[in-house]
Structure formats: C-alpha cells, structure tokens
C-alpha cells in the first residue's frame, strides 16, 4: 500500500498543479488569441445592453429550463436539406436545412481529422453516439433539441439535460478534473453579466452533431452564456483541439426559455431505445 499510495498522492498533486497552470495558461492564451487568430465572433467583448435580474447572491439569474431552436444537432455547419438516413422514415428523417452555428467556418480540420469526419458521416448510423444513447458531450448537449435546466447555486451550477439524463456540474471554485469523461470537467466564473465555463478532460468519444463532426480528448471548450432579455440567453463557445483543428473556432446561438406553465424536464432514459440496435444481433435466433 505504502509506495502505491504515495505515488497516488504525488500524481494527485501533480495533476492539481498542472491543471491550475493549464487553466491559467489557457485563459491567458484565449484572452490574447481571440483577437489575433480570427475575426471576433459576434463581438463577445461588447458590453451587453441587458442587465439580468440577480439571484440573492448577486449574480445574473440563469435559473430555468432552456432549449435551442436550430438545426445544429443535425449539422453545426451551414447545410441544405438532405435526404433520410433511414429510408423507412422518409421525410421524418430528412435533414432539415440550417444556417449553422459556426461563426467562423468552415471547421478548420487538420487533414487526418477531415478524413475521419468524412468516415464518421458515412458510418453515422453505426457510430453517432446519440443514436446509441451515449452521453452527448459538450457542447452538443447545449443544442440537442431537448430542454435542459440550469440549477444555479453559489459554489456549483448544475445543468440537467433531458437527453439521456445527462448532467454537467460547473465548479464555481476551480477544481481539477479527476478523470476523462463524456461531458468534460467544467470550471466556471462570472464575468459581469456572463457565465464563463472552461471545460476539458474529455474522453474524445462525443460528437458535435449527426453529421460526424467531432473532436479528440484534447478538446477544450470555453463557453460564454449571457442573458439578453428575460427569456433568452446568448450562447457562444470557443472550440480548440490542436490535434483535430488548425485553429480555434467559434459557435453561437440563442437559447430560449421554456414558457409552458409548470414547465419541467421529463424523463428520457434512452438506453432501452438503443438496445435492439446495439445488442439485437446477439438475440437468440438472430439471423445476422
């Protein structure tokens, strides 16, 4: 136990120190790089015209149930309408057209990554984690066409997603990520009207959309969420992953408050809906 234990402690300390340094470096790099590398996406630095109602601890109140209203989950880039994935579903499964949420596209894939993205698209029925009811990852969870709820505490902000019952826990006191995960490890801070969330420690298995856009476990997402009026949030994120993309890039879209009386998240435990797809060939008497 002894030496193994101390090795563990040493690695914990190492991880902690590295993470703190990395977060600081990333924040600095981002502050400098945002202006240098690309045209500013939708003027994130502009002073917001709207001052959100405050929580009792004096932060913008983002509590509520929110949902995107766009076609990004089909393809985050601008795209025309396209035919079905599953012919039996006809028009229901056709891709609706979308103007995209990438503000400085096309997505700057490195050559190998571009090839993989193509392969993902070709095999999307087999590979898309959403079809298999895997956790959607970040940022995909934010624009899947299902509601999510922000539960805003002081030290923690939770985001509870209807799809697959996914959860993001935002640590408002910086905490190093202990392990890779689907949803990533999120540290947050307030920048005036804006909630800024720095997320990494991904496992690299989540996709951005149904079109096979993806990133690796080096993905680093910095999100900025700002209320623009009582019922809308502006969502923007900087996406970087040096092993997949040649430069950081950005997405932006509005989030809409669910206004139904007594709006609530309902339960969408999709595992059992994916089982025939995943395990059907192992059914007794299966012919394939």
């Amino acid at each position: 136990m002894g030496s193994r234990f101390w090795r563990y402690v040493a690695s914990l300390i190492g991880i902690t120190v590295c993470s703190i340094v990395a977060v600081q470096l990333a924040v600095h790099a981002q502050a400098r790089g945002g202006a240098q590398t690309t045209p500013a996406p939708a003027a994130p630095a502009a002073a917001p015209a709207y001052r959100a109602p405050r929580t009792p601890d004096n932060h913008p109140n983002l509590n509520g149930i929110w949902q995107s209203m766009n076609e990004a989950n089909w393809n985050i880039e601008a795209h025309s309408a396209d035919t079905w994935r599953v012919s039996a579903l006809g028009a229901v499964d056709a891709t609706p057209p979308g103007a995209g949420i990438v503000t400085d596209g096309p997505i700057p894939y490195l050559p190998a990554a571009a090839a993989k993205r193509k392969e993902n698209f070709t095999n999307r029925l087999k590979l898309d984690p959403e079809i298999r009811c895997y956790l959607p990852g970040t940022p995909r969870a934010m624009y899947q066409n299902m509601p999510f709820q922000i539960i805003q505490g002081t030290d923690f902000i939770a985001m509870s997603f209807q799809f697959a019952g996914a959860l993001r826990t935002i640590y408002m006191k910086p905490t190093p990520g202990p392990a890779d995960s689907w949803m990533g490890w999120s540290n947050g801070k307030w920048d005036g009207e804006t909630l800024v969330i720095d997320t990494k420690d991904f496992n690299g298995m989540a996709w951005f959309d149904r079109a096979g856009n993806f990133a690796s476990d080096k993905l680093h997402v910095v999100e900025r969420i700002t209320a623009t009026d009582a019922d809308h949030l502006n969502y923007e994120a900087t996406i970087e992953d040096p092993s997949t993309f040649s430069r950081p890039w950005h997405i932006q879209f509005p989030l809409y408050r669910r206004k139904e009386p007594n709006a609530r998240l309902l339960e969408f435990k999709c595992v059992e809906f994916s089982e025939e797809l995943i395990y059907g060939a192992l059914r007794k008497g299966a012919t394939n």
Partner: protein
C-alpha cells in the same frame, strides 16, 4: 463458463466507472494522523453536533453538499430482533463487523481459476461498503411505523400475494445487490429490501424474457433477460425511496432558486425537484424516478412523488397501483447530517401507510461521471457467450447424430 458467471460479467459493467473519491480522503486521513488532522476532526465533531441553521442565499435551509446513505441497515427489522428497534453502539459496531465479514467472504471467493475470478474484486475501491463512510444508523431496520418495524399487512389477500418478501431477487440491497444475489444467493431476510429491489424481476417480466431463476439457469435469449440495473437503464436504489446501494453510495445536492437537484451517482440519476408545490405532471407521463414536486415546511424539504413507471414497481413496490405516493422529508440536523424520512402510501397494496427514516451523512467530493451504459461490455459478453454456448451445443449434438 456457467451462467452465473455470465450474470457476473454483466454486473461488472458497473465497476468500470467507480468513485475513488469516496475512498481517498479517508485514506489520506488514515495515513497522516497528525495533530492538525486530529484538531480538524475534533472541530468537525463539534460542528457535527451543533444544530444546523445554514440557509441558501434564497433563505431556505441549505442542504447542499456531498452526502452518503451508505449503510447495512435493512428496510424491515430482522425478525429475530423482535421489538428491539435500536442497537447499542457496541452492538452496532459488532453488527457492522459481521456484515462486513459477510461481504469480505464473497471477496475471498475471487481466487484465480474460480468462477468468481471473472467478477470484480469486492475489496477494491468502494465496492465493499465497509470501506466507505457508513452512516452508523443505530436502527435495526428503517421502518418506524408500524412500530414492529415490518411492512403493514396487505390491503387485501391479493395485494399480499403480489408482493412477496424475502430472499431472492426482491430482497437484493441494491442494483449491485442483485449481482451479489446471483453470485452467492444467500442474502436472507436481513438484506435491505430496496423498493423496486427486484429490477431483475422487471426484466423477467419484460417481453421476450425467459424464465429467470434466482441465481442461475437464465436463458439470456436477449437483452430483455438481463436486469434493468445491469442494462444501465435505471438504478433501483434511486427510488424514491432513495435506498443505500451496494456501492457508489454518493449523492450531491445543488440548490437553485425554487429548485433542489439531487445527483445520485449510480448511473447519474438526476432528480430535479421544484419547491413551489406545483401540481404533478399529467398521470400519463410515467418515469422511472416518478414525478416529484416539493415544498418547504419550516426547515424541512417535503417531496411528493407519484407517476412511477410500472416497470419499476417490483420488490417492495410490487403490486402497487397508480395511486402509489411517496412522501420524502429532508431535514438537515447538523453540518454533518440530513435526516431523511419517508412515508409510503398505496391503499390498494397496504392496509395502512408506512414510514421509515435513515440518515445521510457528509462525504468528500467530487463525484465522477458514471457513464454506465457507455461502458457496458457486460451485456455484449453475456449475450455473445450464450450464443457461443448454444452454437457449441448444437455442433456437439450434430456430431453425435452423425456417428
């Protein structure tokens, strides 16, 4: 490779992602043993007994933090204890020691070359619940009403027949407990009967489900023959009632304005409970976790849950009707403890409502992501091994016929 082993494999999927966070802080304390640690412990002990007055910025009681209900305490008082409702401190230590030894005995079975060797090692990480913080609940059973510590009489003879209690799958202490039942089969009446503890029972009742025995003889014709828990669909101990699971007994509460969120680590079950006492969702909207609505009653969060998905109404809840309602009350007594009370009522099933309670105590975070389904190789291994077994049997039969 027998079928019990296959069951174990599928359960093993749970072990892939496991909280070490629960173990490490205690290990650190155990290793350090300095005066500073002792002083911190004494300070913690002092604050642990001071009545809790903490409020959130919103002004309601602050329940936030990481918690566990890790315990060996069964739902019903063991029959041999008669009217003894509490253990003395010494008796509790002795009882926990005995129950820890029972778990360790299973771990001893994991010798190389044995069937259990393909299972995980119960002494690792937090799988053996004696390795994580126990609530040290002195109750001999959770039920406080009826006073005899037992579930009330059934409302009718039929209702009684619908919900048998005792050994077998219905009495498994947890999703993990189901696996243990399959491995050892010996969890008797002393095991905590988790509400919905028979997720395995639900699987057996699912379409296409073959006859499912208590610990072997399963057919595994399809994924439907595997328990809901092992399939990572739902953790039966998530309830509500939230029962102590066999492992991963960690919870985090986060409060926003007008809402309390409870993360149940096992299978990342998330309960988002509004505290405006709103009406329930329409009764047609069923959910594994039910539909919960809450309000504050002084220092107590009161939560009412109904609309349970019928598939989870197994084990203790077998034979309940759509009228089943569970009231939970969360009262933070000290910095270190939440008193968790529950009242279960279904006039179709029981002749009277019944009540119980258990403590939740503080633990260190953080909680890791429990991506259960995503790493569930156990299902694939179970089904593919069964198909291989059938293929070999068919080949052997054909060869015999050919002779």
């Amino acid at each position: 490779m027998n079928r019990r082993c296959l069951a174990s494999l599928s359960i093993a999927a749970f072990a892939i992602v496991i909280t070490v966070a629960l173990v490490i802080p205690q290990t650190l304390v155990g290793q350090a043993g300095t005066a500073a640690v002792k002083a911190a412990q004494e300070k913690a002990a002092a604050s642990a007994t001071k009545p809790w007055t903490g409020k959130t910025p919103e002004g309601v009681p602050d329940l936030q933090g990481y918690w566990t209900n890790n315990s060996y305490t069964p739902l019903q008082r063991p029959a041999n204890l008669g009217d003894k409702a509490f253990y003395t401190p010494d008796e509790l230590v002795e009882a926990n020691k005995r129950r820890a030894e029972q778990e360790a005995a299973r771990a001893d079975n994991n010798a190389p070359g044995t069937t259990n060797d393909v299972h995980y090692d119960f002494t690792q990480f937090a799988l053996d619940r004696s390795q994580t913080r126990l609530t040290m609940d002195p109750r001999t059973g959770m039920i406080t009403d009826p006073a005899n510590g037992q579930l009330p009489a059934p409302a009718t003879a039929d209702a009684g027949a619908a919900g048998p209690r005792g050994g077998g799958r219905g009495a498994g202490p947890a999703a993990g407990g189901g696996g243990r039942g399959a491995g050892g089969g010996g969890r008797g009446a002393g095991a905590a009967a988790a509400p919905g503890g028979g997720a395995r029972g639900a699987a057996a009742a699912a379409p296409g489900g073959g006859a499912r025995g208590g610990g072997g003889g399963a057919n595994y014709n399809s994924v439907n023959d595997i328990s809901i828990g092992s399939r990572c669909i739902w953790t039966n101990t998530a309830g509500p009632i939230m029962m102590p699971p066999g492992y991963n007994p960690a919870y985090q509460i986060i409060q926003g304005q007008g809402v309390v969120m409870i993360l149940i680590e096992n299978q990342h079950e998330v309960r988002v409970i509004p505290t405006d006492n709103r009406p329930h969702a329409p009764s047609a909207v069923k959910a594994y976790l039910g539909d919960s609505t809450g309000h504050w009653d002084g220092n107590t969060l009161v939560v009412e849950t109904t609309n349970y998905n019928p598939r989870v109404l197994t084990g203790t809840f077998a034979g309940t009707s759509p009228d089943l309602k569970v009231i939970e009350k969360f009262t933070r007594l000290t910095a270190d403890q939440i008193k968790y009370e529950f009242i279960v009522n279904d006039p179709t099933k029981w002749s009277a409502p019944w009540k119980g309670d258990m403590p939740f105590v503080k633990i260190e975070g953080p909680i890791f992501e429990h991506a259960c389904h995503e790493g569930n190789f156990g299902i694939y291994n179970t089904l593919s091994a069964m198909r291989l077994e059938e293929k070999r049997a068919a080949e052997a039969a054909a060869a015999k016929q050919g002779k």
